[in-house]
Every structure is written in C-alpha cells, then in structure tokens.
C-alpha cells in the first residue's frame, strides 16, 4: 500500500508539472484550443458533477448559467462600455442569483422530473436570448468581448489566459473537494442518499439543495466569464441544447462521481471533437459510441476506469506474489453489476467520502 501511495504522489506531481509546463512545450494551438477549452468546459462540468454526484441533482441548466454570466459580461462591457470588473462581478452575481431562482423552482422535484425542469429553464433562457433584441441581440449575439489587461497581465495573450484559467480551475476544484468533506458537503451527500432520513435527523433538505445549486451556479458563471472571453463573443448558439447536452456528455465520460472526471471528460471531449473531424465527418458518432461504451461498461467514467485498472493491477500482483491479502479485500464479494459495492472494497483511506455511486436511491423513493 505504501508503494501505491508513493506512486500516487508521484503521479500527482507529474500531472501538476505537466499542467504548469504545458505552454512551454505545446504549440499555441494546443494551449488555446485544447488546454483553455478543456479547462473552462471542465469547470462547467465540475459544477454539474458537484450537483449530480454529491447532491443527486442532474442539472441541465449549467450551460445556461454559464451563458447568464457570459451574456451580462458582454452586455455591460460591449453594449454599455463599462469596465471589465463591473461586467465580471455583475455577471457572477447574476448567474448566482439566476441559479438560486432556478433552484427554488426545481429542488422539490427529483430524478427525471428534476432533469426536465432544469431543461425547461435552460430552454426558456435560450429562447429569450435568441429572440430578445434589446439586450441579447438575438441570434447574432454580442461580438467583440475582450479579455482585459490587468496591471501588467495581458489576458488576451493565450499563455497568460491559460495560466489564469488553470489557476481558477484548480481553485474551484480544490474548493469543491474541501466543501464535500465539510459538514455541509456531508449533509448534502446524506440528502442525496436518503432525503427522508436526513429530514428526520433535523436537516432542512431543500435549503441544502438550494444552497448547492446556487453555488454550482456561481461556478458555472465563472466558467461563463472565461468562456466568453475565450470566444470573444456570446450568442444563443453557445447555450443551445447541443451545448447543454455536451456538458452532460463530458460529465458522464469523465465520471459523474469524481471531480477530476470533469477535466478528464472535457479534455477527452475537446480532443475528439477537434481531431476526429480530420479523419471522419462522423465525429458525433464517435463521441456517441464512446459515451455508449462508458455508460455500458464504466458507469464511473474514465476516472472510474483508471481506478479500476490500478485496482486490477495491484490485485493481480498481490495474488501472484502470495503476499497476504490486505484486510480490505476480505469484504464480502458483492453481487455483480452493483458498482457501489464493487468499488467500496478497495477505496483508500483518504477516499472515505468519495461517492462511487451516481444513483441516489430513487427507485425506492419514486412514487
């Protein structure tokens, strides 16, 4: 187990080093198209994973909240020529507020009903943006949004923008990791697993859900600011149904129960959409097949897959070396197909709060 630990730390250092030095060896195209895009799409997916994996709320409104802050940033800085920080602050406030409103509407429903309500909210905003002429400029949207120059930092420079996005992504990631271990995060997971029990324990279920959803709105809003600067524009095409589903695809590909999955899924998605079109016109089919494979074989996404791989390798070496089997693998063998128990027999000690199952126990609760 200590070897594993060392390997894990080495792996972590390698990843951090790789991310930090990426612009030094990669072409500008890779930094911009793959790097930055994966990071801000990853942040949106992160907000969804937080909601879905830890709060049991699969939200289709995350891209809309992204658009909310992006649009407000564009309107204030381009249409009204206000300074960038006004746009950023107002944008973040707006997406947070909108998320709170969305949450108040939707948190009392669950499962498929929750998905449908958030989808309705997303489409409502999309059609508003598509048809309003006064603020959102209809189908064309708002062009000419530019990242600002802050002191000596020229954010329009791709490398600077990459590091800023990386820093923000890391902060959001670490913040969320911290949050899910906090009493609030634990209560949220409790609510996901059994809302009635938590209620009878004295937790206010809906308030927790609203708070989580609002926070996710802020996170999606942060990505919205970054994404709108990256695109230099925002239009209804940035928040349409395709983009909404893309975030869900990214989250599922990466693994709905791991925060890392957001970025791994986003990178996978961006790489495939960028390069597959060089080989085939059917790159959407390719993404679809990957999604199908993930949904069928790796319910925990690409992260779950890599964890299982590590687990498999260590288990075989342990067996081959005839080393006494660690206590943890003496647990009862679970029934096949039950992903929750499958993974619980080998989780490392620091992962005791990692949630492996995506599914809340909705089957029991559905009327």
């Amino acid at each position: 187990m200590t070897i594993l630990r060392v390997a894990r730390i080495a792996c972590l250092i390698a990843i951090v080093l790789f991310l930090l030095t990426f612009p030094l060896f990669a072409s500008q195209f890779l930094v911009v198209q793959i790097g930055i895009q994966s990071l801000f799409l990853g942040i949106v997916a992160l907000s969804l994973i937080f909601l879905a994996g830890y709060g049991g709320m699969v939200s289709l409104a995350q891209m809309t909240l992204y658009g909310a802050s992006g649009y407000l940033l564009a309107i204030l800085t381009v249409t009204y020529n206000l300074p960038w920080f006004v746009g950023v602050i107002a944008g973040l406030l707006f997406s947070t507020l909108l998320a709170a409103i969305f949450a108040l509407i939707s948190v009392r429903s669950q499962g498929i009903y929750f998905i449908m309500i958030t989808l309705a909210e997303a489409m409502l905003v999309f059609y508003y943006a598509d048809q309003d002429r006064i603020f959102t400029n209809g189908h064309t949207g708002i062009n000419g949004v530019q990242a600002p120059t802050v002191g000596s930092l020229v954010l329009t420079d791709p490398t600077t923008f990459y590091y800023m996005t990386l820093l923000i992504a890391a902060l959001v990631y670490l913040g969320l990791r911290y949050l899910v271990r906090s009493p609030f995060g634990l209560a949220l997971q409790g609510i996901r697993d059994n809302a009635q029990r938590m209620q009878s324990l004295g937790f206010y279920v809906y308030a927790h859900r609203v708070a989580a959803f609002t926070l996710a709105g802020l996170i999606a809003g942060i990505a919205g600011i970054l994404g709108t600067w990256y695109d230099g524009a925002i239009s209804p095409g940035s928040i349409d149904l395709t983009r909404t589903i893309n975030i869900l695809v990214i989250a599922v590909l990466g693994g709905l129960s791991y925060f890392e999955g957001a970025f791994i899924g986003a990178t996978f998605f961006v790489v495939v959409t960028t390069y597959a079109s060089s080989f085939t016109d059917r790159f959407n089919t390719l993404i679809g097949l990957a999604l199908l494979a993930v949904a069928l074989f790796f319910p925990d996404g690409l992260v779950g897959l890599s964890r299982k791989t590590v687990q498999l390798i260590t288990r075989t070496t342990v067996w081959r070396g005839r080393v006494p089997i660690p206590l943890s693998s003496h647990k009862p063998v679970p029934a096949p197909g039950n992903s929750r128990t499958v993974a619980s027999d080998s989780v490392a000690e620091d992962e005791q709060f990692m949630i492996v199952s995506v599914k809340p126990e909705e089957e029991e609760k559905q009327p």
């Binding site: 060896f25 990669a26 072409s27 500008q28 195209f29 890779l30 911009v32 198209q33 895009q37 059609y127 598509d130 048809q131 002429r133 209809g138 189908h139 064309t140 949207g141 062009n143 000419g144 695109d231 230099g232 524009a233 239009s235 095409g237 940035s238 349409d240 395709t242 996978f268 790489v271 495939v272 960028t274 390069y275 597959a276 079109s277 060089s278 080989f279 016109d281 790159f283 959407n284 390719l286 990957a290 494979a293 993930v294 074989f297 790796f298 690409l302 897959l305 299982k308 791989t309 498999l312 063998v333 029934a335 096949p336 499958v342």
Partner: protein
C-alpha cells in the same frame, strides 16, 4: 461458497474486458492526437513543405445546413480539379473542417485549420453569423489569406472589414438586386407584407428588397419576424392584413411551403415574393392546390438554375460530371465556394505559389483580381467585397407541367451598396427588424 468463487472469476473476466475496451477507446482518442493530418504536434513548425499548398475549407457538415455544407465542399473540389490539383510544381492539399452553423464552433474550426493544420489560405464559412466570427479571427492572423464561403451578412465586409478577408461572391443585400423594382413594375405589387426569420441573413435580404421596392414607390405595411425553425404560422397568418398585394417570404428549409399551406387554408389571397433561398426544390415540386399559387413567384439570387448562358451551362455540366451523387444543379453554396476557391487559385497561379512574406504578393494580386465566373465577371471593391451580376427569376412551368425558376432579368455589376454612394448607404445604419421602413 462455490458460487461465490465463480462470481469472483467472472468479475475478473469482466474487468479485463472493460480494460480492453477502455484501452481501445483511449487509443482512438490518442490516435487523434498523435497523427493530425500533415503531422506534428511539435509547436509551430509549419507542416507545409515548399512543394505543397494547403487550402482549408470550412463548411457546415453538421447541424441545420449539413446538406448545404456538403455541396459547398463540392464547389471547392470542382475548382481545384479545374487546376489539375496543382499550381506550377506545387500540389494542392485540401483540408476540410466542419462547423454546425454557430459562430463559436466556426471560430474554433478556423483556428484549427490555420494554427494546427497549417493551411496557407482558408475558404469559408457558410452562414452569416459564422462569417462575422471568422472575419474577427482573420484579424488576429494577418499573415494568412481568408476567403469567404457563402456567408452573406453584409457587415462582414462593409463595417469593420479585415484586410486579409476577401469575399468574391455577393452578400445577402446584393442577392436581392432587381427584385423590388421588378415586382413593383412588372408584377404591379404596391402594398406588401413581410414574413422572415429573425436573424442577420434575413435582415440583409429584407433590406435589399425594401431599398429598391420603397424607392420605386411601394409600401411595406407590416413585417413579421419568426424564430428560426418555426413550423406553425397560424398566429402570423391570422394577423396578415387583407389589403395587400403580396407577401415577401424569407424562410429557410420547408418553412415557405408550410407557411403557404397554412395561408391558403386560412383563405389568404395575396401572392408570394421569395427571398434568395425561399423558392427551392421543395417549393418547385409542389403539386395539388398550391400549384397555381406557386406559379409566378418572383425571387432573386446570384445564380439562376436555368441560366442559358454557356459559361453557366458548362459549370453545371462540370459539376454533374464530377459529382453524379450531387444535386441536379449546383446550389448557391457550391457556386459561392467555387467562385472563392477559383479566385484563390487564379491568384496563386499568378504569383506562382509564392506565399513568402506573409502572403503579401498573393494579397496584392487578390485585391485587383478580375475574372469571369459562371455567372459573369467579378471584381472587388475597396473593402474586398465582390461586385457581380444578380438574377431575377419567376416560377414558371415547363411543357410537361413541372415547375422551374425562369430567368427574367439579369442585373449587371451589383455593388455592395446597390448603387447608392457608400457614405449615404452607411448612414442608413445597420439593418434590423425596423430598418429600413416604408409603411
């Protein structure tokens, strides 16, 4: 206990299977990263060797205009084939990239073509708002030449043009040249209502129609703007005034025939006038009660399917010969991409493939390039926007009863401001729902 062991074995099998499939999935993904066309993730080294010219083509191969995007690429391939696939001793490599008609995707695709696939020049995109996005991207790549595809938003070249963005086909306003005057004088329409989709391309079309129609003395009494993809026009139909002569309809896809059906069912009597993409094959294949209503619908376009001119007939022939699975006749998209590709190739030939010094010589030649397209001569104005012929057509029937667009008028050398001096034209402001207006 026995059964438990069996489960363990089976699960290990399952693990291996999962691993295998996962690795395959990852390999397909990694395969993408390690062998991009032309090769080299290594930073910035241009992949184009000295005996190769790389041309990028960006069209919508996904989304609502996927079929049009395919035809657009046929236009580019046709032009390259005309030059035998080479300029001097340099061979031409075509790299295609797809968007889904949204500006953000178009910008990403353009960035990939230029910065990853290292194309020397790029042709595209297809739809209006994409054009504005690619034009803005072109400004960040001053060393490359960008040629428009069929994107027809007027502002792409009229306001804030990019010095390295060329459009050798006319725009959405120019595509209406001749129509307003024709329907006023020849068809006698004085009062017209307008039904169009609510985005930049129809704004250009409506403006192009109204500028002439209002000037001739006509009145546009009411305008209806519907979201893209509307199929139920009942609210519009019931609000259309009865004292009008015609309705100008600029709807894409099957929108116009849907509207006509609902309008006729409602008892509407007014005739139709069509935008550039309104009278398409779905309208021309009309049978039954709508047949008589479709007859006589006038529209205008930079191409006319039944143009008897020999240059056009040759073009159609070449298209059909090269693409037996293509459309019965090259579409507007094939034509515009063809013209822009041909302009690029002609200029490349003149400079003998010299792309040195930020493609300076190529730009110089493009700025003053004049040549004969299948629809007549084309040249550029000072904004690098085409001045070319436009065609007014009317739906007519052939002896066997099938409908076709009959060419009734050629409007020669239409410029971007429809003959109005540019400063006056710019004072009209950007065209939108309410501008222009002549109630």
């Amino acid at each position: 206990m026995k059964s438990r062991i069996r489960i363990v074995v089976r699960r290990r099998w399952l693990h291996k299977l999962m691993l295998l499939i996962g690795l395959l999935a990852l390999l397909t993904a990694c395969g993408g990263t390690s062998t991009p066309s032309g090769g080299g993730l290594s930073s910035g080294t241009p992949a184009s060797s000295s005996n190769e010219i790389r041309i990028g083509a960006l069209a919508t191969l996904a989304g609502p205009f996927a079929v049009d995007g395919q035809d657009a690429l046929r236009g580019v391939k046709l032009a390259i084939a005309e030059f035998g696939g080479k300029i001097g001793n340099k061979s031409i490599t075509l790299v295609t990239e797809s968007s889904d008609a949204t500006p953000a995707v178009a910008r990403n695709a353009a960035r990939k073509l230029v910065q990853q696939d290292n194309v020397d020049l790029m042709i595209g995109p297809l739809s209006g708002d994409e054009g504005l996005a690619v034009r803005d991207y072109a400004k960040t790549q001053p060393g490359k030449v960008f040629l428009n595809g069929s994107s027809a938003a007027q502002d792409t070249t009229l306001r804030n043009p990019a010095p390295n963005f060329y459009r050798f086909a006319t725009d959405g306003v120019q595509w209406m040249a001749g129509l307003g005057t024709y329907v006023y004088n020849a068809q006698g329409y004085k009062r017209v209502a307008i039904l169009a989709e609510d985005y930049s391309f129809p704004y250009s079309q409506v403006a192009g129609f109204m500028l002439e129609f209002c000037k001739a003395g006509g009145h546009v009494v009411k305008k209806f703007w519907v979201p893209i993809g509307t199929t139920d026009y009942s609210s519009v139909v019931s609000a259309i005034p009865t004292n009008i002569d015609a309705i100008y309809v600029a709807l894409g896809g099957s929108g116009s025939i849907n509207f006509l059906k609902q309008y006729v069912q409602f008892g509407g009597k007014a005739k139709l006038i069509g935008g550039t993409v309104t009278v398409d094959q779905t309208v021309l294949s009309t049978k039954g009660p709508l047949y008589q209503r479709v007859l006589g619908v006038a529209s205008a376009s930079p191409i006319a399917d039944n143009n008897p001119d020999s240059a056009w007939q040759q073009f159609v022939h070449a298209y059909k010969a090269m693409f037996p699975d293509g459309f019965p006749s090259p579409s507007l998209f094939a034509y515009t991409y063809y013209v822009n590709a041909k302009a690029a190739l002609l200029a490349l030939k003149q400079v003998n493939g010299d792309l040195s010094n930020g493609e300076a010589r190529l730009k110089e030649v493009l700025n003053t390039l004049q040549f004969d397209t299948p629809t007549g001569p084309v040249k550029l104005d000072h904004n690098r926007q085409a001045i070319a012929n436009n065609f007014v057509t009317v739906v007519n029937k052939q002896p066997n009863g099938t409908l076709f667009n009959k060419l009734v008028q050629v409007v020669p050398n239409v410029n971007q401001t429809l003959g109005v001096p540019e400063d006056q034209f710019l004072q009209l402001g950007e065209f939108n729902r309410d501008n222009p207006s002549c109630p």
